[in-house]
Symmetry: C2
Subunit: 113 residues, 2 copies
DNA sequence: TAAATACATGCAAATATTATTATATTTTAA
DNA sequence: TTAAAATATAATAATATTTGCATGTATTTA
């Protein structure tokens, strides 16, 4: 199984609005850099930096078509994650009635804030 | 649907090895702070900080049992995400044969590094 | 072959995150 | 009522991330 540290790293790389948008765009198919410039409304160098980060971490890749770089999704985990992020959850998980060990305690606890 | 910014935030909050471990421990049931101190091998204040971050963002909650604080999972997205992170993917996604727009280009492209 | 297009890189500034240390609060037990 | 246990908070220091900007390179077109 993929080790804890790597799982954290993977999520961290994805956990940025620009990069999530990039990945979502890529689930629709191949895009080149200027496509993201339009859809993200950030500067070209900034787009390039996000793409480089995603690529050097093996999440996306590209091929060259003349002066275009055509980026595509490589990491199969991504579509599943993006789907999960779109899933609607109606309710919070149920709070345990009491502490399973001491069989005591009350919820909700008193909070200072 | 949960907006882009929020999705990024959510992932960012989870994307830390200590916090992923905390959440995994919590899928097994209620735990108090000192349990994490043992299982994570980080300082008590640091555990507390991670727990506070998770709680103030609605991902976990606690109830009070004497001088223990019993933490539990609240955000239903978490178990699904943790499962997904454990899933094995055998192969990378297939690279497109050519640019769907220009019908040209070669993969892999030339890389500088 | 000069200009334009598409993209990448390096670096510095701004900001955010993390761990650490010290201290405070709450509760139970003696 | 005092001490200790369990946890939280605050301040700080160390790092990491993010962005902006200037510049650099490759490719195509005129």
């Amino acid at each position: 199984m993929i080790p804890l540290e790597k799982r954290a790293e993977l999520l961290k790389i994805i956990a940025h609005p620009a990069r999530i948008k990039i990945l979502e765009d890529l689930t629709q198919g191949v895009k080149c850099v200027s496509d993201f410039e339009d859809s993200l409304d950030i500067s070209q160098p900034n787009v390039s930096q996000h793409l480089t980060l995603l690529r050097t971490n093996g999440i996306i890749d590209f091929f060259v078509d003349g002066r275009l770089k055509c980026y595509f999704l490589k990491e199969p985990f991504i579509p599943d994650l993006l789907d999960l992020l779109k899933k609607e959850y109606d309710d919070d998980m149920p709070a345990p009635a009491c502490c399973p060990v001491t069989k005591k305690g009350t919820y909700p606890g008193e909070r200072r804030r």
